[in-house]
Symmetry: D2
Subunit: 175 residues, 4 copies
Amino acid sequence: MVILAIPGSLRRRSFNRMLLEAAVECAPEGMNIAIAGLEGIPVFSEDLEAAGEPEAVVVLRGRVERAEGLLIATPEYNQSIPGGLKNAIDWLSRREEVLARKPVCIVGATAGRWGTRLAQAALRQVLAATGSLVMPGPALYLRDGVNLFVSGRLADEPARDALRTVLSAFAAWIP
Amino acid sequence: MVILAIPGSLRRRSFNRMLLEAAVECAPEGMNIAIAGLEGIPVFSEDLEAAGEPEAVVVLRGRVERAEGLLIATPEYNQSIPGGLKNAIDWLSRREEVLARKPVCIVGATAGRWGTRLAQAALRQVLAATGSLVMPGPALYLRDGVNLFVSGRLADEPARDALRTVLSAFAAWIP
Amino acid sequence: MVILAIPGSLRRRSFNRMLLEAAVECAPEGMNIAIAGLEGIPVFSEDLEAAGEPEAVVVLRGRVERAEGLLIATPEYNQSIPGGLKNAIDWLSRREEVLARKPVCIVGATAGRWGTRLAQAALRQVLAATGSLVMPGPALYLRDGVNLFVSGRLADEPARDALRTVLSAFAAWIP
Amino acid sequence: MVILAIPGSLRRRSFNRMLLEAAVECAPEGMNIAIAGLEGIPVFSEDLEAAGEPEAVVVLRGRVERAEGLLIATPEYNQSIPGGLKNAIDWLSRREEVLARKPVCIVGATAGRWGTRLAQAALRQVLAATGSLVMPGPALYLRDGVNLFVSGRLADEPARDALRTVLSAFAAWIP
């Protein structure tokens, strides 16, 4: 079972990328998680699209299509998901509907106190529009990231256990 | 009174840009509306930001700061605002808080049947996070755009009247 | 297959109740739809709950538990679902988690122009919290109800066809 | 300056009622806060309304009308506001528009970990529909209530200070 993991932040060493790196390690047997960044995806415009879909979009679309599920780790920017993550979804939703009926698991980590709950809810709304099969639970809201991530790694054991629980549930969620 | 108008779509001839062009014509006396596109604003990343704020962001930030109010015209992509619009707000919210206490009027047009209600609600949530003063009403939801916009211009008279009403209310909304 | 249909409005002759009455007629073979009103369910309070769950809640809980899926038809009040519908969900979510893993299909009708899109999105968010399996699509947004409902009946044939499509998809959605 | 304070929970000793009791004590000079419960307000229905507005609604409507601002303290039920609070707003929004242009300050407390952020965002969306003037910030999200409320009273000094800050900002927010 191949899962494509997408960090909502472009920052090289973001907590959400580290969370996905931990997911690679914590995946249940039989689940293979690969990480795909959003690097190189330009801001969407129909004019740009008319000139041909950018290479980074074509590549991401292909990886999404081949994956049996998506694992999205999102930070919260201004009570919603990052514009860059929404932008990637906007591109993906334009053709061939690769997101329709695609199983998705949403998680999130933040340096702040509030655990990306508003971002995750906003992402659910967007993925309802794309017809994706978003797992309703269990949820993973990691906050106070500086206490959880040490030396570039999710070091907190309860958080890793919670991540394992989420990933096992996701394995069962995929039809 | 100088108002900065921002189209949520990057498309050169988008309905929302045409809506703002109509706003320039329909503005009440004393309200001067200038349009600022989102062209050239890259997808946000802290790494990029650390290397210095991109020129297009610096320019937009300055224009927002000098304006007495913002008029945002948004399409609806996947039941929310376009990633590109959210991305611009993410950039603007990073420093000096130019969006805090800034009066904002939200309008929207779509080719579809549903009038950008979900996008406008999503935008309100984001602008609550930035501490902006979003006018609670009257609202403008333009749908079935092909019937309203003719030859690149908002031609529908009831729609233009509704736009005039919104802009007059916005003039009164600005403290 | 037994489906419990819940109208979001308490009005005896509401469009959403009529929509569910049409659903009874339009259900695919093998799907048996029964309508359960929200009559008699008081406003939730922990104090009231501590004195024993009200009879109307006990009855509704039992019916939800026995149903293989829920069909909820909601109007839109103030850009969200009616307080009465949210209140019923609040009661149901308190014990035994009858809503968890329950397949749900959301539809909605309105006398107004905007088709309950904000209400349906708000309901999705609530049902994500309860861990329900909300069908991501197809959606049914009926607007301008006075043109669709005639003499207390959904008379519009395209609307009835769309309802049939939704119900068939729901039959396939239920695991 | 008379402010009407409404707890979103009907529970007699709810954290949000205690939060409002603390607000009475922490109000800046010149701000007089009175608490109005939602007791006795039945679930809305047009049929009920047609028979005459219930007495509890009439009373609440009058108090809202006479107040110069509203202070709403909401818990979070199922990632949104309680059905009972939404129901009261539904009633109030039906006639004379007492909520339009009414300044509102939203706060919230919870026994849980997540501080009512989703509930407050949902309430903002509803109050945008009613045309109310919701203060964009500062926000107050109180979590882990058992540590903040002792013997029926908001005992935590940092929380009381934050409450004072919010109330002073609200005094300035009211036109």
